[in-house]
Amino acid sequence: MDNVLSWITFLPVVGILAILFVPKDNKNTVRIIAAVFTGLQLVLAVWIYRNFDSSTSAIQFSEQYKWIPSFNIDYFMGIDGLSVPMVLLTAFLSFICIFASWGIEKSVKGYFAMFLLLDAGMMGVFCSLDFFLFYIFWEVMLLPMYFLIGIWGSPSRTEEDGMVRGGPYAAIKFFLYTLFGSIFMLIAMLVFYFNVSDPVTGGHTFNMLHLMDQANHGGVLKDFDVRLLIYAALFLGFAIKVPVFPFHTWLPDAHVEAPTAVSVILAGVLLKMGTYGMLRISFPMLPDAMKWKYFAYGLAILGMINILYGALCAMAQKDLKKLVAYSSISHMGIVLLGMSGLTSLGMNGAVMQMFNHGTGTAMLFLLVGVIYDRAHHRQIDGFGGLAVRMPIFAAMMSLAFFAGLGLPGLSSFISEAFSFLGAFGSETFDLRLITVVSTIGIIITAGYFLWTFQRMFLGELNPKYAELPEINGRELFTLVPIGILVIVLGVYPAPLLDLIKTSLNELVEVVKAAEAPTMLGLH
């Protein structure tokens, strides 16, 4: 199939056009169109999965066309083992989220149009290999996200301390934070453009494959100080998206105020873009800067802080959704730690963790949505004994909780173990102490998940909720596929691991081979 990546990226845009022609009152038609287009997208993703050759680290399904020749901007798409799991995750969660959004009643057309635009943007980020194109997709996601949180999120309200909170506040906070990060990425991108030459034509280039080849670097990129600055600029852009402490404060607001499906996308896909960017751009393009000891240890220490700080914050939350949001910060810390050791084990663990956290946290947010739709609040202490009343819901929740805390047999156990072991066994840097301290996070995580489960589901049934209806078929339809994936990849992770390992091992080798100058510049 030719141009499969263009199809998978732009199918949602076709969906938007279709939706625009539907009369406003045909809400179900709009929903069905959205489901059909994301469904087709999922089919294409599965096709890509089946036809992807995981024995090579080369770029596959590539498409390259001239776009703006005078600026050497190409429309260049292609995927390797790093992008494939992200493409699968995006297609899978987008499809699921359409059904999780079935209950949206306010301006249905607008909602699904925005959602599909977001979907196209995410897919484009994972498929593009031209930096300019990557940046366009990266930014295109901001606007739909702003509207999705602002219009369909919780309404504006004034807190007890006089602060205005709610969807509109969270939306602008998300927008400002992310734009702040991406402007630094834009500067880094332009510095790359003007200082890297295309080996064939000798002109400037945005082609990521050329940017990764150190032999093409010239001009100010020969200067190690500049390389460090550019690495820092890129890191800022990606760290805000992950989010890395101390840039995380947008996340609890955005996740909590967003509608359920948008929270799922935010936690499930958007956060991964930060770490994906690091692995796709920062590491291979500036491997020596990555290996500068302050940056390398800095990355591991920030990972550790994310793990511990996120877990401790999660434990302190009274609001279930906020707890899940902070648990995301904690789990993304594991990705950072796994990456920082530059071992094959850790790197594979990190990318698997990106995928597994995507599925696990999606389940959690969907389940939060289920209970919120019924009880209209999310206070953990406001429930109790729900297992009696809603046994299937409780079973689902326990599966998601156990996946979150990394129970052996469930998917995230494998990726977390790989990440920690990889970081601990690093030969490049001595990360043993940092890893050991980080593992405390696992205990805290187990603590808050189990404690929450106990408060919500065990003990006396709160009489207020004696009539709470059990989880319904549509909701189960969104949860069961994810649950199956969580269990299957927990028992048999080979399909995922095989997919990514060739590309990632190559990435590890490239970064490891780079020499980090120690006698230059800022040292």
């Binding site: 366009i136 930014e139 509109p168 602008i172 402007i183 500067i187 332009l190």
Partner: protein, 502 residues
């Protein structure tokens, strides 16, 4: 040169002066036609003005093939650079005529003088973009200023309009005075009024750096007033608020672009050395570091414009401050002294024309529908009048500089030019980009008011098909140029050429 050859040169020059002559003719036609019209508010005059503009447009397009040529004893010039700006001015004039036709604000007022003045203003802008002599520069700037004063006070029964005109005139007189003094200093230093000769004189011998810097800063007062850069921006919020909105839209684009045209020509012809070995980068005079002066002005202008815009409650004032900030962005391209920079500035001005005009069009629509310019009154408008609200979202996103809109491409070229110039100006790129984040805050606040807040009334408002068409005509290219901008880029690239030496 004897008299006969001077006369001959002037006669030949007339051939290249056709668009300006046509505009002059159009002015006369409008004045006379106004006498014969019984009904003061007849739409016929606007049609005459439009038809005239289209004829002028054709004659301007024909000028692209002429190359570069100095006219009237080096008073004026016709070159691709000036032709590009003339196109921009005509496009603005045509758009403003369309805005004025349906404007409720202008309803019931005599239109004869209005369109006459509008065309006269366009003629002034044409002359500004092609002046190559200190005298023509001063005269054309004054021409534009005086016509603008009158247009700003066109709603003379409205107090704010009169106030706007008065402030405009006082600031204008003040900055013209400063500029005149600067020009006289420059004449004293070089002994000539011709920009090319000034350039040669300054390049060939060491001048007093102190006097040259003083004269440049004073001259910058005149240009700064036209493009509304700090510290000569004080007039613009009041004038933007008080003037009839179609005129505000015109003032925010036409005179600003003309200011850039004359600024770029003046600095690059008179105050920059020839490019070494044919490179696309010029060098400033060693005794006068004007790129740094402009860089500082640019940084302060965009920062101040954006920060003050945050606290505005009136949409026209907000757009005034945002347009100050945009002048700061566009200046970045002039700072780097390169072909790429000038090209980026020109590209940006063309894009700015689309998105700013679009934003003002939405303001006019809302003004007609609600009778209010207060942002607070836009609450929930997206649910009552979705078409203008969505169009506004497109224009504001473009003004912020986010893809996939033309505004992003414009900013991208500006920042690319700055980064290309090397690490010396990285700081300016950082300041510019941080300003985009600040700008997002107040642009997004308008979106928040329109889309997120609850409307006071629920009933939907219908927008006339005329406005819907105009909105679509401006919004569509704003998005299309964000995805495929090669045609505009080609036009700007071909127009970067200006006559650099006699």
């Amino acid at each position: 040169m004897d008299y006969s050859s001077i006369i001959k040169d002037n006669l030949i020059s007339l051939n290249y002066f056709l668009p300006e002559l046509l505009l002059t003719g159009l002015i006369i036609v409008l004045v006379i036609a106004d006498l014969f019209l019984k009904d003061e508010r007849s739409p016929w005059l606007s049609f005459v003005a439009l038809a005239g503009c289209v004829v002028v447009l054709l004659s301007v397009i024909a000028q692209f093939d002429l190359g570069s040529r100095s006219l009237f004893q080096h008073m004026l010039v016709v070159d691709p650079f000036s032709v590009f700006f003339k196109l921009l001015f005509l496009a603005s004039a045509i758009a403003v005529i369309f805005l004025s036709i349906a404007s409720v604000e202008l309803a019931g007022r005599p239109v004869g003088e209005y369109f006459t003045l509008l065309i006269a203003l366009t003629l002034g802008l044409f002359l500004m973009a092609s002046s190559t002599n200190l005298v023509t520069i001063l005269l054309s700037i004054e021409f534009v200023s005086i016509v603008s004063f009158v247009l700003a006070t066109y709603l003379k029964t409205r107090r704010r309009s009169s106030e706007a005109g008065l402030k405009y005139a006082i600031y204008g007189a003040f900055s013209s005075g400063l500029m005149l003094y600067g020009l006289s200093l420059l004449y004293g230093l070089t002994g000539t009024l011709n920009l090319y000769e000034i350039g040669d004189v300054l390049a060939s011998r060491d001048s007093n750096g102190m006097a040259l810097t003083l004269s440049t800063i004073l001259i910058l007062a005149g240009f700064g007033y036209k493009i509304a850069s700090v510290p000569f921006h004080f007039w613009s919020p009041d004038v933007y608020e008080g003037a009839p909105t179609p005129i505000t839209a015109f003032l925010s684009i036409g005179p600003k672009a003309a200011g850039f045209a004359v600024l770029i020509r003046f600095f690059n012809v008179a105050l920059a050395g020839e490019p070494a070995n044919g490179a696309s980068q010029w060098s400033a005079l060693p005794e006068l570091d004007w790129p740094m002066i402009l860089a500082v002005v640019s940084a302060i202008t965009m920062t101040l414009g954006n920060l003050v815009a945050i606290v505005q409650t009136n949409i026209k004032r907000l757009l005034a401050y945002s347009s100050i900030a945009h002048a700061g962005y566009a200046l970045m391209g002039v700072v780097v002294l390169s072909q790429d920079g000038i090209y980026a500035t020109m590209f940006y001005l063309a894009v700015y024309y689309l998105m700013n005009l679009g934003a003002f069009l939405v303001v006019i629509v809302f003004q007609d529908l609600l009778g209010s310019e207060k942002i607070a009154d836009f609450k929930g408008l997206a649910w009552r009048a979705p078409v203008p609200a969505i169009a506004m979202a497109v224009f504001l996103v473009s003004l912020t500089g986010l893809p996939p809109t033309a505004g992003f491409i414009g900013k991208f070229y500006l920042f690319a030019a700055v980064i290309k110039a090397g690490p010396a100006f990285y700081w300016l790129a950082v300041v510019g980009l941080l300003n985009s984040v600040v700008a997002l805050y107040y642009y997004a606040r308008i979106l928040k008011t329109m889309f997120f807040d609850k409307a006071a009334e629920e009933n939907s408002i219908s927008v006339s098909p005329y406005y819907v068409t105009l909105l679509a005509l401006l919004a569509a290219p704003t998005i299309i140029l964000g995805v495929y901008w090669a045609p505009l880029q080609k036009l700007a690239t071909n127009s970067v050429e200006f006559l650099r030496a006699l």
